[in-house]
């Protein structure tokens, strides 16, 4: 067991006007995740520490925090990879509700704005058929766990919260590329706006921090190509 120094950002809306850092010492070995350490703090040192988590296996997407300034899933990040002090803060660019808990309302609104579901006029009961090649077109973009890490990595979202952001635009691409879907025309208006794909300047950090390797930056920029095509087509339409 090694001792680790955690500096955790605390914010109590009932008493604080702004966040502050609080130091905790936690034991850990090579299997201790950042989430384990935070839960140790909550269970053994300070029961008032607020944080979100559920699956502990990088699938629910709820345990995102900033570790030394970089968005990470707490359950997929390990103390063994850190030395000296570890600073843990809530996800950047979101409003902090309490301690490490942020308000994801805007993120969820952006996700639903691009209609993230199959749109078609199919009403039969027979199964949809899809070839492996058709699946491969969008499969990579379909692995999102809605953790929001990419939004914390994106300065354009930080500068402009109206920007739809990496995950939402990736999700739009995911459905637009699905052979079972006919909803592209309904999604393009969102992507075509200045807060759609055009809000991105290809900083690219979102792809670095994505725990599921979706490469959201690539998806957003492929959406720019789609939007540019849509722009040209619109010029020839009355």
């Amino acid at each position: 067991m090694t001792e680790y120094q955690l500096l955790i950002q605390r914010y109590d809306p009932e008493h604080d006007n702004e966040p502050r850092l609080q130091r905790f010492t936690v034991p850990g070995d090579h299997t201790t995740s950042m989430l384990d350490a935070l839960l140790y703090v909550q269970q053994k040192l300070d029961v008032t520490l607020g944080l979100r988590w559920s699956c502990r296996m990088a699938i629910c997407g709820s345990c995102g925090v900033m570790v030394n300034g970089i968005p990470k899933l707490g359950c997929k990040t390990f103390l063994r990879d850190y030395h000296s002090e570890i600073v843990i803060e809530p996800l950047a660019h979101f409003a902090v509700e309490k301690d490490l808990i942020v308000d994801m309302t805007q993120f969820l609104a952006h996700l639903s704005a691009i209609k993230p579901y199959l749109i078609n006029d199919y009403s039969g009961t027979a199964m949809h058929k899809q070839t492996p090649a058709q699946l491969a077109k969008y499969q990579q973009f379909s692995n999102c766990i809605n953790c929001g890490l990419c939004y914390s990595a994106c300065p354009q979202f930080g500068l402009n919260p109206e920007f739809l952001g990496p995950a939402a635009i990736t999700l739009a691409q995911r459905y637009n590329l699905d052979s079972r879907d006919n909803g592209k025309a309904a999604r393009m208006p969102q992507l075509n706006g200045k807060n759609g794909a055009w809000g991105c300047t290809f900083v690219g950090f979102c792809s670095d921090v994505c725990p599921k390797q979706l490469d959201p930056a690539a998806a957003v920029n492929q959406a720019k190509v789609e939007s540019a095509k849509d722009f040209i087509i619109s010029m020839f339409k009355p």
Partner: protein, 125 residues
Amino acid sequence: MSSPKRSDEPVWWSLFSAGGVCFAVFLPGLILALGILWPLGLLNSSVLQYAQLLSLLQSGYGLTGLAFTGAVICLPLFHAAHRIHHGLHDLKCGYSSATKLLCYGTAGLLSVLALYFTLSLLLKY
């Protein structure tokens, strides 16, 4: 939800992308030759003397000359204008439709100037 207004960014982004390709493919060689080796006297040929340069241009200018100006001056100018315009947003430095006009306007004016020089060279000889 009402749909947002269509952005005119496709126009600027296309120019930016084309300019980015030119910047990456044509400019390194050109800067190396004209900006570094020639001034240092390491490109010791007569090609870059006035008379020779003109005869070179006379032999193969025309549309090639316009394409050259477009590829090494005009498109890179729009590339630069785009990055500066978005850089103003990144740095919170007065990003607005006025700075947009200023950035792309300057790129457009300088492009026209470059094309005018090229054309006048073409017509002169």
